[in-house]
């Protein structure tokens, strides 16, 4: 860095027709609707806010216990507690008018029709939102509770139906609990998705040896945090090798090195999840130090990092 001159690195990245001021987003379910962040956080500095999953009807979520810590991670089973799309449109969309950061609305449903209805309702009103992230890690009631995200055909069908309804960004959020994430990513790409994001949480369980009880009401929950970073990196890299659309990487990001690694593995943008609970300002901190990293390593822009990992074999 030149002495006395603050060289700001070019952190901009582009997905579809949207330009984001930087690649640091916050992950669905870990930053509320983007409106609850404590005063000490300047959400407008974030690349984007992905809202917690919205469903057709409001949901109370699962009984407690919903959360437990695990080695370098945590398990959650919130059960998609949310205000529902109607109230979301009423109460949240107007607030977004005053934010300069981009909003990506995460949508969840239990059958294709539900996703479609939510999207139709969202698209029927005018709003500043930049796009949608589709949570396909939900149990599909029509298919006996199997996740949408484990099946290529279901993923393709859902992507197609939603693609017709919006010109905004359509991002399919992939589940890591699959034998072959690349085929599912390709199905989303071929059906018209603008990007895929990966990974959602990994299925996990926690037991209290002393009491003999499950630590989570629903027995299984979603593992997140640094423990799953190697899993996320591997899946992002595999997707990057085969897909043409951008990949938004996540899973265990807690610092700038993690962001750099995810971008090197092939992410165009990344999402910070669990780390927000501990430190809601962590996204901002990472933006600052990513800026320094890019300058100090003589790179021109954040995009130079994308997919740049040097593999050895």
């Amino acid at each position: 860095m030149k002495r006395g001159i603050l060289v700001l690195a070019d952190l901009k990245i582009t997905i579809g027709s949207e330009v984001f001021q930087n690649p640091i987003w916050v992950a669905s379910g870990t930053f509320g609707y983007g409106t609850e962040a404590p005063e000490l956080v300047d959400v407008n500095r974030l690349g984007a806010i992905v809202t917690k999953s919205i469903t057709r009807k409001p949901r109370e979520g699962n009984p407690p216990p919903r959360i437990v810590e695990t080695p370098s991670g945590m398990i959650n089973s919130i059960g998609l507690a949310n205000i529902g799309v109607k109230k979301y449109i009423q109460d949240m969309l107007p607030i977004y008018e005053n934010l300069t950061t981009k909003i990506i609305v995460n949508i969840a449903g239990t059958d294709v029709q539900e996703y479609v209805e939510i999207m139709e309702m969202m698209e029927s009103v005018s709003s500043v939102i930049a796009g949608y992230e589709i949570n396909i890690s939900c149990p599909n009631v029509k298919k006996g509770g199997m996740e949408f995200g484990v099946d290529c055909d279901m993923t393709a069908k859902l992507t197609e139906k939603l693609r017709i309804l919006t010109e905004r960004l359509l991002i399919m959020k992939l589940s890591p609990n699959v034998s072959d994430i690349v085929s599912i990513g390709l199905s989303a790409e071929n059906a018209g998705a603008d990007a895929v994001s990966a990974i959602n949480t990994v299925v996990g369980m926690s037991i209290d040896a002393e009491s003999g009880s499950s630590n989570i009401f629903t027995t299984y929950g979603g593992l997140s945090g640094p423990a799953i970073k190697p899993v996320g990196l591997a899946m992002v890299h595999k997707l990057y090798n085969k897909l043409s659309i951008p990949i938004i990487g996540m899973g265990g990001i807690v610092n700038t090195d993690d962001v750099v690694e995810y971008m090197m593995a092939g992410s165009t943008a990344v999402q910070v999840g669990t780390a927000n609970y501990r430190d809601p300002g962590i996204g901002e901190d990472i933006i600052d130090s990513l800026d320094s990293f890019i300058n100090q390593t003589n790179r021109k822009s954040a995009t130079d990092l994308i997919g740049s990992v040097r593999t050895l074999s």
């Binding site: 930053f31 000490l40 409001p58 919903r66 959650n76 529902g84 109230k87 945090g225 609970y277 501990r278």
Partner: protein
């Protein structure tokens, strides 16, 4: 809500496995609203334990706050190893406070285990406002108590094994005190079985009661939706959200006994 790097002023074992830590945390102390509120502690800078640990504020004065904690697992063990002069990142003050104890009723303060932290604090607030009150503190055994059994001062201790104070649970002295005093209002914090018993007793005898409850917390400030407790009377409406479950970190940790239900 404030995030503040706090200096440890002291950290001592005050009873068997029970420790008291004082922090210099002027900003949090300044914003503190009253007994019941808590802080969320980042005990280690690394990410091996990603979540902060919530602890009730046991006192807040002169720019300092204190906690009273029991060694449970990994992180409380680390807390106990921390030394005067080290700094730790605290988030707080979080949550609501006990209320209406200064409204002409006779407060009975009930603490169990490390649940005594906010109760000791409330006692100080009562004293400061010269509100007459009684305090009952329960523990498993005498070695977990670090205050004195002083019935003449309206301080009653109980132990499961009878080694100090009354043998049995806090319910024994409570039953007597309720008879001896009029217009009582219960304020309790402690393990779930104790809160359960206090709640049942209060509802049955039509005595107002506030309970400070705990739950696993992912964040402490409303982001994760992890810390819920079921409300007692809730309307199941079509657009029900936060009707059935309440977020303890935002709406609590203090609830009117009749408002919540222990599953």
């Amino acid at each position: 809500m404030i995030i503040e790097r706090a200096r440890i002023k002291s950290n001592c074992e005050v009873a068997h496995n029970i420790w008291e830590m004082h922090y210099e945390a002027p900003n949090i102390a300044d914003s503190y609203l009253g007994a019941g509120q808590f802080i969320n502690i980042l005990a280690l800078d690394d990410w091996s334990h990603p979540l902060r640990r919530p602890m009730s504020i046991a006192s807040a004065e002169d720019g300092c706050i204190s906690i009273i904690y029991k060694i449970f697992g990994d992180v409380t063990k680390i807390l106990a190893s921390q030394k005067e002069g080290e700094t730790v990142e605290l988030m707080g003050p979080l949550g609501n406070t006990f209320s209406n104890w200064d409204n002409g009723t006779y407060p009975v303060l009930i603490g169990g285990g490390v649940g005594l932290a906010p109760i000791l604090n409330l006692k100080k607030e009562c004293a400061a406002k010269k509100v007459d009150h009684t305090m009952i503190i329960g523990a498993k055994s005498g070695n977990e108590h670090f205050i004195e059994h002083e019935p003449e001062e309206n301080i009653y201790l109980t132990t499961d094994d009878g080694t100090i104070g009354d043998e049995g649970t806090v319910m024994e002295p409570l039953k007597r005190i309720i008879i001896e005093n009029k217009n009582t209002y219960l304020f309790a914090c402690g393990p779930e079985p104790m809160l359960h018993a206090v709640r049942e007793f209060a509802l049955k005898n039509n005595i107002p009661a506030q309970l400070s409850v705990e739950s696993y917390m992912g964040c402490g400030f409303g982001l994760c939706q992890g810390c819920v407790i079921q409300r007692h009377n809730y309307e199941i409406r079509d657009d029900s959200y936060h009707q059935k479950y309440s977020l303890i970190c935002l709406d609590g940790p203090v609830y009117e006994a009749g408002d919540i239900s222990f599953g």
